[in-house]
């Protein structure tokens, strides 16, 4: 056994057994953050905090929710909403949180794209981040099934049908995923399991990985400057805080993060108390009915852009386009051929690429919400979907000819 001295304090007692002083140094007090960043760099911690809100509110919902096709709807809309003390609070936090988390994820992603924070050692940050995006999408979808309303049922029907692979007609696979010919009890219970256990575990694992991948490359900064961290840390530790380009994560950077989080949570709870309805689709307040499709089916706003890429094409082409759109952002670090880590504004054609991509995704999102019948909007949708792919095809070429900064 290792040799242990008598500890003189509680902190020392723990340090002897867990090396907490080393951990604190490596992960917090000497984890250096550049000074040259802005509030957009707080989005990561805002996401972590929002995930925390989802977990806590979810735990309370779980105490009364019944994963049974006959009981689920009432257990949410009657028991939790009207009987359980403050049950509505947990539900509104959970619903608003699930919606807002995607807004922040998109801001976080486009920040990374704008500043080129996905290359030169930061590839794994990007890939684990995309892993989180996919895991959150699955988490949001599985959670949407649980109240077992009309939108739950029909979204479940349409999305699981995607796995038939069009002309491959893999209906066996679809039935396997559902555990039935249609979404029914087996489907609800297994998506319940995914939503409350397996996917949260995956998400937590990915968050740990995401944080781990940040530690060695450090976060990027507003100018993409390649900072000499040893030199900057030395200056800071010598007391020359002013000349050093960095600050320690704890306590200095965290104070700024917490400020942004404070502003964010004021807005968040404003939504929870006064504007929760945007996160609650009225159609889902009708119980699931396998014999009646709602007049117009559309996903939650954060899936609209990729849904719109599915819609304008024939079935097979639509599925292929949709599948590519879901994963193409994973390829960003490998399709961007320029060595420059710099804000898009300084990167020649990439500047236009960035804004075109952002606007295109926004247009797709708005078109996705409109009914499929209007020819004008259907054409705008089709064009935006084609632009989406054209931009990805153009990316390696325009970044190849980009001037090295």
């Amino acid at each position: 056994m290792a040799h242990f001295e008598k500890a003189n304090s509680v902190g020392e007692w723990f340090d002897q057994r867990l090396a907490i002083n080393t951990l604190k140094r490596v992960l917090a007090f000497e984890y250096w953050i550049p000074k040259n960043i802005n509030f957009l760099w707080a989005m990561g911690m805002v996401l972590a905090a929002t995930f925390g809100m989802l977990v806590v509110s979810g735990i309370f919902l779980l105490m009364y929710y019944q994963p049974n096709v006959d009981l689920a709807f009432d257990s949410v809309n009657y028991t939790i909403m009207t009987e359980v003390g403050y049950g509505w609070l947990w539900r509104h936090i959970h619903g608003v949180g699930a919606s807002v988390v995607f807004l922040i994820i998109y801001i976080h992603m486009f920040t990374g794209i704008y500043y080129g924070s996905y290359k030169k050692g930061r590839e794994l940050i990007w890939l684990s981040g995309m892993g989180l995006f996919v895991a959150f999408s699955a988490e949001a979808f599985s959670g949407y099934m649980l109240p077992w309303g009309q939108m739950s049922y029909w979204a479940g029907m349409v999305i699981t049908n995607l796995f038939s692979g069009g002309s491959l007609e893999a209906y066996g696979l679809v039935e396997w995923i559902r555990g039935d010919y249609v979404p029914a009890q087996a489907f609800l219970t297994r998506f319940f399991m995914l939503h409350v256990l397996l996917l949260p575990l995956v998400i937590i694992g990915l968050i740990v990985l995401h944080f781990g991948t940040l530690r060695i490359p450090h976060v990027n900064n507003q100018d993409g400057e390649d900072i000499d961290y040893e030199e900057a840390a030395r200056l800071y530790k010598e007391g020359n805080v002013k000349d050093s380009k960095v600050i320690p994560f704890q306590p200095v950077f965290l104070a700024k993060d917490i400020f942004v989080m404070g502003v964010y949570f004021i807005l968040f709870f404003y939504l929870v108390f006064y504007h929760f309805e945007f996160a609650m689709d009225p159609v889902n307040f009708d119980p699931a009915d396998g014999l009646k499709t709602p007049a117009h089916i559309y996903p939650e706003w954060y899936f609209l852009w990729s849904y719109e890429i599915l819609r304008p094409f024939s079935k097979d082409l639509g599925l292929i386009a949709f599948a590519i759109a879901q994963v193409i952002f994973f390829a960003l670090p490998f399709l961007d051929k320029s060595p420059n880590v710099a804000p898009a504004s300084k990167r020649g054609l990439f500047k236009f690429w960035f804004w075109a991509m952002l606007i295109d995704v926004l247009v797709l999102t708005f078109m996705g919400k409109l009914p499929p019948t209007d020819a004008l909007f259907a054409n705008i949708g089709l064009i935006s979907a084609l632009v989406f792919f054209a931009l990805w095809i153009a990316l390696p070429f325009i970044t190849k000819i980009e001037k090295k900064l």
Partner: protein
């Protein structure tokens, strides 16, 4: 590998991981399969003697909606019709072959219209517009007097299937 003992350890470990891992994956796959009780979900009988021309009735079979439409004389006959006596019926699984929404029947246009992505089918279930890639599917059926039994493959259904009119 530093020596033979280490090698033996890894080899045995690898071997047990494989013989344990593959059956475990198989067990997991099987646990996701539909239950036998679901698979055996029974048969549905529909009596069509009271059916009204050009008026859609929707029945339920294996959790899915089933369209039964008695055709009026002015509607085109089709190889996919279920013929009972002198009447012709369109019988199909009422799920759009695009992504599975239930199309609505618009009786004065003699058309099924799907609200999800704008697909359309005629009164014989053939796709006429939009993303649906194939006609509405015909469920396995057997004719028994004026009753249609769903879930059993009668001679009329087998003929349609052989002719490739449904899957």
């Amino acid at each position: 590998m530093s020596n033979r003992r280490d090698f033996m350890g890894y080899a045995l470990g690898g071997f047990t991981a494989i013989i344990g891992g593959i059956p475990a994956l198989y067990a997991m796959k099987r646990s996701w399969d539909p239950l036998p009780s679901v698979k055996a979900a029974g048969f549905t009988s529909i009596d069509v003697s009271g059916a009204v021309e050009n008026e859609l009735t929707v029945e339920k079979w294996r959790g899915k909606p089933i369209f039964v439409l008695k055709k009026s004389k002015d509607m085109k006959a089709d190889d996919r019709d279920v013929v009972i006596g002198s009447d012709r019926f369109h019988v199909s699984i009422g799920l759009c072959t695009h992504l599975g929404c239930i199309p609505a029947y618009v009786s004065d246009e003699h058309k099924f219209k799907c609200a999800c992505h704008g697909g359309e089918f005629d009164a014989s279930g053939h796709q006429t517009f939009g993303p649906p890639p194939s006609p509405l599917e015909i469920p396995p059926f057997k004719i028994d007097g004026t009753t249609i039994v769903l879930g059993e493959e009668g001679p009329e259904f087998k003929k349609m299937k052989e002719a490739g009119l449904t899957v």
